[in-house]
Amino acid sequence: MRNSRALHIYTWVVVAWLTLPVAVMIAFGFNDTPGRYNQTWEGFTLKWYGRVFGIDALTEALLVSLVIAIITAVVAGALGTGIGYALGRYRFRGSGTVNLILFAAMSAPELVMGASLLTLFVSMGVGLGVTTISVAHIMFSISFVSVVVRARVLTLDRSLEEAAADLGATGWTTFWRVTFPLILPAVGSGMMLAFALSIDDFVVTNFTAGTTVTFPLWIWGATRVGLPPQVNVMGTLIFAVGVLIAVLSGVRSRPRRRRG
């Protein structure tokens, strides 16, 4: 059918559009380039994978970013879950305002957010570094976590928690034995989202970093003198881990068939 052929072509064009940049990044991690410039194909090699941690400053920047991303995922995960649960489960005074603030935090331009955070930190006399970056990242990630968690809580059958209470469970037991296991996938997605937002954030980080150098900041600095292939290798590895997690969670959350 002509129609389906057109649809096929369209689909593959979109797929290519989405994957080509990633493919280029991955390919140039295997480029046998001799100098600092990694922009023309010189042949296949695996040597950059052997020397992935060969540039100390880059390695350190990656570690700083990982630490910040993990802190962000954990703290924003915990706080965002609390907010998301409260918004999804209860109607209370100010719940509308909280909703609004969450969306404002998500839609505010990063540039504005970064600049105002810098002003805030400086006027408070806080020294810029890993702490300020983490505070900033947690701040913009909370919204994403709580929106994801709230959506799950809204679809959760209210009578499940009532049933737990009816069977003698306290509020605390009900949350940890019934509610939390059921919203865990959403909490996990929210935390992964927070991690992903944090590890490659440039704009807000640039404002709040002081002299600290994160992975994106190092790359930005290096572009002026040419990117070493190690950057591609690290990018590829981060991408691979992300894909792995996505595939694993996809397999896990697929509904199992009914047996009887």
Binding site: S159, L160, E162, A163, D166, G168, G260
Partner: protein
């Protein structure tokens, strides 16, 4: 059986605020449910039956009045501190737990010893006929099986009363009828008070020891299934439980406790009345469709109520034939005729017929 009611409501009132308006879900309710009774709260949606049940469970607190469980005031006591358990309409099985984990959840909360838990769960699983399925996840079971798990999860705690909120609503007809029998059997075996919320009058009639028919936050009638069916106290009950033919008339004369009502010429409507009814009173009576005989003759027995009419609809049901008959008396009558030996001699549309029934089968409403 002790004299203390298992559940007692004294002057219980419940109102909600909804869009700035006060909704009276339950109005000044007095109710006592006996030990070991199978008690049904029956009514259309919004009649207050579910709110009443949720006040027993503790999910709602009354705006006024007192709730007693076993003679103990539990008003304001949290659901997890009440000795009753509920079977939810959606079953509310914990999807991330196996059947065993679901059923043992309540016992674990009461810190029952492990061996005892295993024993009691095994026992109740056998009662609900689910032996061998302990390790299954709820989603791997059919609707009927999930229903049994929900029942077991509540019963294993040996509650003072079991609350069932339209528990059979999600099942298909065959399974529902099967589960009705099953529920009755289980209740006999465990001897626990069952409070059953339903809008299905057939279900309530077949299973209950007593039924409270609710409407608009009030109990219209409380009685055994037989009382409620044979002697509906209000027009609403007469219409909600089964089918009723309602007739109005003025009392013309009273002879030996049987009143003759005003009727169309040639008709005669008799009804047994209590002494409080006098000549000249307006009465509304109800007659069940299966008590009425339909005859194509011209002569009718003199001691019966007789109404002449014309058949307007005939619906053949296999075991019975349902007729709609228009009459001069006003309302269209519904008549259920058993298809016995005379099944090939059915009236057809347009036939002139006499409807007659024994005077004792007329029932005056609200006197």
């Amino acid at each position: 059986m002790s004299d203390t009611p298992a559940i007692e409501f004294v002057g219980v009132h419940k109102e909600f605020q909804s869009h700035g308006e006060t909704v009276h879900a339950v109005r000044t309710l007095d109710l006592a449910i006996g030990q070991g009774e199978f008690f049904s709260l029956l009514g259309p949606s919004g009649c207050g039956k579910t709110t009443t049940m949720r006040m027993i469970a503790g999910f709602e607190d009354p705006s006024a009045g007192t709730v007693f469980l076993d003679g103990k005031d539990v008003t304001g006591v949290a659901p997890n501190k009440r000795d009753v358990n509920m079977v939810f309409q959606s079953y509310a099985l914990f999807p991330h737990m196996s059947v065993f984990q679901n059923v043992s959840f309540g016992l674990e909360r009461r810190k029952v010893a492990k061996a005892e838990i295993t024993r009691r769960v095994g026992e109740i699983i056998e009662i609900v006929s689910l032996t061998g399925m302990e390790k299954r996840a709820p989603r791997e079971m059919s609707g009927g099986q999930q229903q049994r798990v929900a029942l077991a999860r509540a019963l294993v705690n040996r509650p003072r009363a079991l609350l069932l909120d339209e528990p059979l609503g999600a099942l298909d007809l065959k399974l529902r009828q099967q589960m009705q029998v099953e529920l009755k059997r289980i209740q006999r075996e465990v001897g626990i008070t069952f409070v059953y919320v339903t809008h299905d009058q057939g279900e309530a009639l077949t299973m209950s020891d007593r039924i409270a028919v609710m409407q608009g936050g009030r109990i219209d009638q409380l009685g055994t299934p037989r009382e409620i069916y044979e002697k509906p106290a209000t027009r609403f009950v007469a219409g909600f439980i089964g089918t009723s033919n309602l007739l109005e008339g003025e009392v013309r004369s009273i002879d030996d406790g049987i009143a003759t009502l005003s009727s169309a010429p040639g008709d005669c409507v008799l009804v047994p009345v209590p002494g409080s009814v006098a000549v000249g009173d307006k009465l509304e009576i109800s007659v069940r469709p299966e008590k009425i005989e339909l005859e194509r003759g011209t002569e009718a027995p003199s001691d019966c109520s007789v109404v002449a009419g014309t058949v307007s609809e005939v619906v053949y049901h296999g075991t019975s034939t349902n007729y709609a008959v228009t009459t001069a008396a006003g309302p269209e009558f519904t008549v259920f005729d058993q298809n016995a030996a005379n099944a090939d001699d059915l009236a057809v549309r347009g036939d002139k017929v006499f409807l007659y029934w024994n005077a004792q089968h007329s029932y005056p409403i609200g006197v």
